[in-house]
Symmetry: C2
Subunit: 636 residues, 2 copies
Amino acid sequence: MKTPGLTNVRMEGGLLGQKNDLVREKVIPYQWRALNDDIADAEPSYAIKNFKIAAGEMEGDFGGMVFQDSDVAKWLEAVAYQLATHPDETLKKTADSVIDIIEKAQDDNGYLNTRFTIKDRDKRWTNLAECHELYCAGHMLEAAVAYFEATGERKLLDVMIRFVDHIGSIFGPGEGRKKGYPGHQEIELALMRLYKITGEKKHLDLARYFIDERGTQPHYFDLEYEARGKTDFWPDFYKGGKEYHQSHLPVREQKTAVGHSVRAVYMYTAMADIAARTGDESLKEACRTLWKNTTEKQMYVTAGIGSSGFQEAFTFDYDMPADRAYTETCASIGLVFWASRMLNMEKDGRYADVMERALYNGVMSGMNQDGDRFFYVNPLEVWPDACEKRKDHDHVKPIRQKWYGCACCPPNIARLFASIGEYIYSVTDQDLYVHLYNSSSVSWKGLSLKQKTEYPWNGRISMTIGGNTDTESSIYLRIPGWCQSWTVMVNGEEIKGSPEKGYLCLTGSWKEGDTIEADFAMPVERVYAHPRMRDASGKTALQRGPVVYCLEEADNGKDLPALLLAEDGIAESFEKNTLKGVVVLKAKGLREEAPADDSLYSGSRPVRSEQDLTFVPYYAWNNRKEGEMLVWIREI
Amino acid sequence: MKTPGLTNVRMEGGLLGQKNDLVREKVIPYQWRALNDDIADAEPSYAIKNFKIAAGEMEGDFGGMVFQDSDVAKWLEAVAYQLATHPDETLKKTADSVIDIIEKAQDDNGYLNTRFTIKDRDKRWTNLAECHELYCAGHMLEAAVAYFEATGERKLLDVMIRFVDHIGSIFGPGEGRKKGYPGHQEIELALMRLYKITGEKKHLDLARYFIDERGTQPHYFDLEYEARGKTDFWPDFYKGGKEYHQSHLPVREQKTAVGHSVRAVYMYTAMADIAARTGDESLKEACRTLWKNTTEKQMYVTAGIGSSGFQEAFTFDYDMPADRAYTETCASIGLVFWASRMLNMEKDGRYADVMERALYNGVMSGMNQDGDRFFYVNPLEVWPDACEKRKDHDHVKPIRQKWYGCACCPPNIARLFASIGEYIYSVTDQDLYVHLYNSSSVSWKGLSLKQKTEYPWNGRISMTIGGNTDTESSIYLRIPGWCQSWTVMVNGEEIKGSPEKGYLCLTGSWKEGDTIEADFAMPVERVYAHPRMRDASGKTALQRGPVVYCLEEADNGKDLPALLLAEDGIAESFEKNTLKGVVVLKAKGLREEAPADDSLYSGSRPVRSEQDLTFVPYYAWNNRKEGEMLVWIREI
């Protein structure tokens, strides 16, 4: 299985299309201003300036984080995806001008990184654990591949191939080369993308080397630490433990998701990529084990991952506090990447289920509906007072921010939604897989499929075939894991088959005008967590289709945990003017009232009064005003 | 109202008597070893060594915290209380030898503090905000007063009066004196104790000065910070904010309890002391306002205070997470001090209710039943995995420790239980107040009262009068706030009166052999928290009499939050051999089971199976083995 390629997919509205449009119309221009430090009252980026300085076009010192280059790379990658589907000469000119600067910032030997070009040139490659040189290289390589695929132009790709050659001359199995690998994984998956277009074994080999070498003994990060005189770039980073960057063990020996969650899922993505391309069974098995632990023991119902603000990390099985979740936007994005690679590795609808859950919840919550405010952290319960006054909520912002000093998330959302078409379909030599439902069309092997739907607001999807084929080919429709009841009709005739691994196979010699109609029953579901997940004990979360709901203060008043949900039915209605058009849920409920004497403790249960409850999609919270939010609610 | 004096109270067994015995028999000898760095595998104290070095009896450098002297002071104070009730020549000799060293460690000008005698003599009094010189002075002054009251010997008292004179020459309203006050309040309440025995107005005035000057502008801590060249003793302490040490406002303008909770209650204690002695109405009102906020908005059901590990501090109203509570043992001890002073200020059973709640719960939990392991932090829910793996649980230890580098709590418990007799009764010129119930006897005005009871295990108390009086006097019995139904009989005849402000007044010309019998119905109560206290939403805590109960893994298995309490009656039985004799509660309950497929999220509520639940007193938890603990439990 592989993606059909962005130029073969057209988004045609719908919620995912809205986000795709938003990225093109608002986010990319907004982020261009951010990268140029042109947003009032926002933390400056310095990112473009750094490249100009490194290119010799400006004087000045490096600004921002050691990984600041990656923000430019992710923005360029997002631009590339948009250019693939929506050519835009002005935007392309801007991008080309950035690429020109990047090229000028590259050293003769191929090295490219503004931080260690503007200063500390002698410290290049001395601190892989902390300094993100390979991470930045990976992001720029992704941008280069995307830009080449979108425009056919090689300038950035050639820059990056030179850099990859340089990296390959420094690191690898050969004598005289360092046995290193990145402190923040990313280049591995980028090299696999490069390999996809070059087919050059050395690109696969380097990716594989970084994955296979990781966590072996003697430990590279110990060796480089000794070699550079035991200095830290970040305070006490070295003491932070090797779990943080998943180098505590060789990857095949890792059984649970640990450490920094974005690093983790970027690495797992590359592992799945390599396993799929090489057929490496031990690596496949490692991917499956880590997937199971991540998604069945450590994943929030929003597909957020990372329960700890400290180290932005996984903690341990079933530890998922709603209010102190880290659940970084980037981590859910990485989970989408990983899920899509797992699907490429082996057909299993559970991967697509998680991918869908992440997209409609933990990813989408990261950006506001105007495309200019961003959450880095996506908790499932917000009490603004606690965010302000409790140190253990330091990482939780009660409102989306204009930008971040560490701005990994905003351009990451941009590149994901800019390329969202890639995640809807997969193709094999013969067949088409439909993983996600959203109005769109796809072309493959001389055929096309046009999907029309109001998904996720209802589960009815009409598909029409374009083109003709004489040979049989299969269209695999994903039957969503959340769906208990469905029908699929081909040319008006109901299909009686059962899905296999989550996909219903429709085989035929497709002809122009053939129709496929799917109807996935989408009632409101009450979700219950495993009893060991103590934070959700005695509570339920509402989900409808793939969309998880929440209560907001804007609709329900303060003190949301004092509310209880009644057993009665829940009314749903699509409200066109609410939050850019969402299905709103209304339910009967109760509110626990303060005792008459307002006493802190009392011998009687709080008196309950009736209150109607309004639930809105979790992803859309905090688009009206600041206030409390709650996903898990008690039941009467 | 004032205390009858320790020599006039005799403890005669019972739970409080047990703790008093334990302090004498185990804790004082154990802590003497600790202060002498003689406990294997425990953090060293250095405290005695510091005094020897300062006294010129040893060579060496200062060790431990800047406030290490206070541990010696608190130990000496505990010893004094024991000597008052249980003369012991060997113990006294040890104490006298320490006092000799303390005297030798004093400077000619009266200054006494080993940290700034051994080193940084030039920095004396340059950093009141951080360096605890006045705090240590306060503790040693309390020890001196107690030692004088217990033994009649003045050596330590004279040392400390010289030091107080020195302090009075440095600080105060007069010209040329510094307008300072302590960064950690303590000396104010100690000066009030000194004033009680000296009657010297200058001692009252100095206490009052420290209270009245606090938080005025220009702010003293700013001035001294500037004056010493903007250096911090603790990293970034100055930036930590003035709420931390309650100097953000003049004390009479403070409306809510903020900042470091031990500092807060020590200050409030002094405020109540001063208000009671001077009749200062504005100070009384400030005390009432702060009391109301502390106990009605920010106090855990165990009478623990301080919801935040960061800064060991109060946070904001209704913010009381069970698992991340700080609820320092010392803070609950300070709450006992404050409550007893509020009682002295004005009769109100609510003060005694909180005092009792603290003693039987948040204080008593701080020490194990063998007197050699201590909790600093007393949460209401413990998940050992989280303590080990979650940074926001860094402050929570799942088992009591042998000692602490910052060992304020262990000797604080020792001095409180050594003087527990002081808290049971108060006297006025005429009358006796019985605040707490425990087998004991008290003498006042030629009369005695002997109390026999198994309290807190049942609510039956028999009191017998000794001696005769011709004039009428009143005995005020506290009707506990937790008690819904009670009878009191005098010489077999039921009293029909109503309590006033929580006390039932029994007036008579008491004769030898008169009896008072009280029976406080003590059923198991289910306590419910205010609905704004979100952490306890939908849950109940069991309380019987003043004792709050908990579930332990030792009795109920793991995953305690998966348990629910049934509505049925709860069986109680006194179990002599459990936890040194406690009433154990047994109840029907249910356990939520993992789903058959162990899935993290499911569309069905967890299946529930019957499980009998066992509750033990919260204070006695973690005396068997390490494991989970839970106070707030869901109900079916």
